[in-house]
Symmetry: C2
Subunit: 150 residues, 2 copies
DNA sequence: TGCTTCATGTCAGTAGTCTGACATACGCTT
DNA sequence: AAGCGTATGTCAGACTACTGACATGAAGCA
């Protein structure tokens, strides 16, 4: 199968974006496997590490999955003793979740592994170019957020 | 929940990349819904449109999914009369797949819808900046491809 | 106060994707 | 010619994520 005959798809930004995302996902999966963590599970821990006390729904939004799916992830991590949730909500229905000692420890290891993946993935780009890339991507997100439907 | 207190995650290129991908995926889902097509199904049609005669495994690789999953997608599209596959392989085991007349027609409509999504998504970026973005992303893919394991 | 609206947590069912496995067909080496 | 490695198609099972639905708690308004 010829790889050198680059079709129009290679010129599609959407296709390349999907490709990069797939590469990152695969690399993260491999990096986290030894820690017995999936990417969504890591995302949950990372979000809680950076912002303790987040509710399940808020975690879901920030991880770009549904709150039902995040519920399963949170419960699984809770069973493993990596995070805690109060039995009763202190206000409203939201249950503020926090990392346990073990959770923080595991997160540290996972974070190191993931940072290494990101560093490798974006290694061809200079720091200045990485900054530009981050700006551009953020601008794209804002573009679709402002006009939800076409 | 405060959105203005931007944490370190917003500074993570990986997180922003995931965010853009999620936005694109959602927008594409909405755009393709009226055509009764999922994103993977569209990907299959688009790949065949640009490169007729691809095998199931080759389609899977280019769509970044397993060949088992692509097999289901291909069969479903075949049942809908959008593509054809020979009963017997002309050489080896690979079954060269091609679009039918209906498949080409539907692809044209879907392609228009998807291009519109991409245009909207990347609208904040100048053409020159889009070109730069595509180059940078392609370079990142090459970076992880060269060193599969860290 | 009572009603509406909204957000959250959770349960159940469905659809999509993956891993593991097996048989078949080709190319290469011996 | 025979064996080995590789690639493809396909089947089966498990896991993941989503949609739909319901109950609960809070905030806003008539």
């Amino acid at each position: 199968m010829k790889q050198e005959t680059v079709g129009d798809l290679e010129l599609s930004l959407g296709y390349v974006l999907k490709q990069v995302h797939a590469s990152m996902r695969t690399a993260m999966d491999e990096a986290l496997r030894s820690l017995d963590l999936t990417v969504p599970q890591y995302a949950c821990l990372e979000l809680l590490g950076q912002d303790p006390g987040l509710s399940n729904s808020e975690l879901a939004r920030r991880a770009f999955i549904t709150r039902q799916t995040m519920n399963l992830i949170v419960r699984r991590l809770q069973e493993r003793g990596l995070l805690t949730r109060p039995d009763q909500a202190p206000r409203g229905r939201a249950l503020p979740t926090e990392l346990t000692r073990d959770g923080r420890t595991l997160l540290r290891e996972a974070s190191v592994a993931v940072r290494a993946v990101e560093r490798r993935l974006f290694s061809p780009l200079s720091p200045e170019r990485q900054r530009r890339l981050r700006q551009d991507l953020a601008a794209c997100v804002a573009a679709v957020a402002e006009s939800p439907d076409a």
